[in-house]
Amino acid sequence: MRRHVTAYGFLSAALVVFAVFSWYPIVRGVVLSFQQVNFVTSPDWVGWENFERLFADPLFGVAWRNTLYFTLLALVLGFGVPFLTAVVLNELRHAKGYFRLLVYLPVMLPPVVTALLWKWFYDPGPGLFNSVLRGLGLPTSQWLDSADTSMISLVLVITWANMGSATLIYLAALQTIPGELYEAADLDGAGIVKKVWHITIPQTKFVILMLLLLQVVATMQVFTEPFIMTGGGPEESTVTVLLLLYRYAFYYNDFGTASALSLILFAVLGVFSFLYLKITKKADA
């Protein structure tokens, strides 16, 4: 008995913090989705009105389309590039420390710093990227200033800033592949592409799948970069779900509709998070 009392004494601070800032807000978020909040009178129950308002908002569809487009681009780049980088780095026996240091350096920069730096690089006039392109005699781009390229520009920033973690996690996974597998493949006369396809990828598929899901969850919540670099423009081409949520909550003070949007986002992401936990448990066992 005393053991249980002591244990809950040790747990008490965590229980309070989780209850107030995690468990209770989950419940409150669901409740808020069906309420109208104005801080003056007590909240009114409004049924599905908040959801109806969302579905009637043309930006709702735009925000989801943008977010899915963003997630797709971020997967192609943010998933493919780190994996290939890790495969190449795993073959190199020189300057290992230098590569690891460099690829992880951007991860340490505050996202606001990265976003403001890249905004300066993207400047269509004297910006770094167009200057380099001009210097090489190549066509320049409007980058963030055109609705056609704004999203891919954001994806480039995010990939640059975050690929360090994924690369190093893949690298750690690659190092657990038994060398005999490659030796056996050599005896069979397999080429590099064949070996990657038949050995490297299958041997690391848990890690690949896990990072893939984590990345979907993270990219669908993208906020800082569009908030700072484009504010959702041009022509609403970079309004993401979270940016729309922020507008509802903090521009229009419509916390009910913002919560309804959270709930929808949660339902979508919940599926991915659930799969992630399932896979981690399996890999952990």
Partner: protein, 277 residues
């Protein structure tokens, strides 16, 4: 160990040099470009094609940026937020993980399960209700508004618990026979053994707090209380570009220094999050 290729021939050296050039260009040059950019006067920064080395060196930009944006204040605010977030999180999760791992109370598994369930929840899905709860508790413009929600970190509870689980029971039993209480056992036996995992969790807690943007943006409407990230994005539109660049460099220095100092811990900690091959 054998890997994909066995290369030592010319192909290996070409790939090595190519990767060196590519990595340096992609990750180092942009940062050098900013570092140099801050030394150039605004007129030189606007000219095309750009100068590579500053034609006129203006090292004063770093001092001017510090004064113009009052960076000292925001450094202090960020420092308080980050160190406090670390201290509060440790004070909350270390005893909790210890209780769940070694004291194993009734319903302990249920508690751990409820904590882990919050991991399925994207942090932004509870943005609005947490914000309203902070408002109710009058925690806006108060660093505790960052510290307390950050302490509810289920992943770190889990990482600590998993590490504590591996500490042999006999060690704790021996301490108990010597008359050590539960608290003494935690401080004298468990914590010293757990230094590696504590280092990893601590570093990541500080880095996460320093990098965070959306929470400080919501919690600190008062400009005087803001963190560096929030202040920099507020100053960005009407700050001369050379001063802004200098400010961005200065704001990054603590994290870069931390990385260089604890590189091994940080890179090892990356794979501690339950990721295996």
């Amino acid at each position: 160990m054998r890997t994909l290729t066995r290369g030592t021939g010319p192909a290996y050296w070409i790939v090595l040099i190519g990767t060196l050039v590519l990595f340096t260009a992609a990750f180092l040059l942009p940062l050098v470009w900013v570092l140099l950019g801050a030394f150039k006067p605004p007129a030189e920064l606007a000219q095309q094609p750009p100068t590579i080395l500053p034609r006129t060196w203006e090292p004063g930009a770093y001092v001017d940026a510090w004064n113009y944006m009052d960076l000292g204040r925001f450094f202090l605010n960020t420092f308080v937020v980050a160190i406090g977030a670390w201290a509060v999180q440790m004070a909350v999760i270390v005893p909790a993980a210890y209780a769940l791992s070694k004291l194993r109370p009734i319903f302990g598994n249920v508690v751990m399960g409820l904590m882990l369930a919050t991991l399925m929840l994207p942090s932004t899905a509870i943005l609005v209700p947490v914000y309203l709860t902070l408002t109710d508790l009058d925690l806006l413009n108060n660093p505790a508004g960052i510290w307390l929600p950050a302490a509810a970190n289920a992943l770190n509870v889990y990482l600590l618990k998993r590490f504590f689980d591996q500490i042999p029971e006999e060690l704790l039993e021996a301490a108990r026979i010597d008359g050590a209480g539960t608290w003494t056992t935690l401080v004298r036996i468990v914590l010293p053994i757990s230094r590696p995992i504590l280092a990893v969790v601590s570093i990541f807690a500080v880095v996460a707090a320093w990098k965070d943007f959306i929470w400080p943006l919501l919690v600190f409407p008062d400009p005087a209380k803001q963190t560096l990230s929030v202040a920099l994005q507020r100053f960005a539109p009407d700050t001369p570009i050379n001063l802004l660049l200098a400010g961005l460099v200065l704001a990054s220095l603590p994290m870069v220094a931390l990385f260089l100092a604890f590189q091994r811990h940080i890179l090892a900690g990356l794979t501690a999050g339950g990721v295996k091959g």
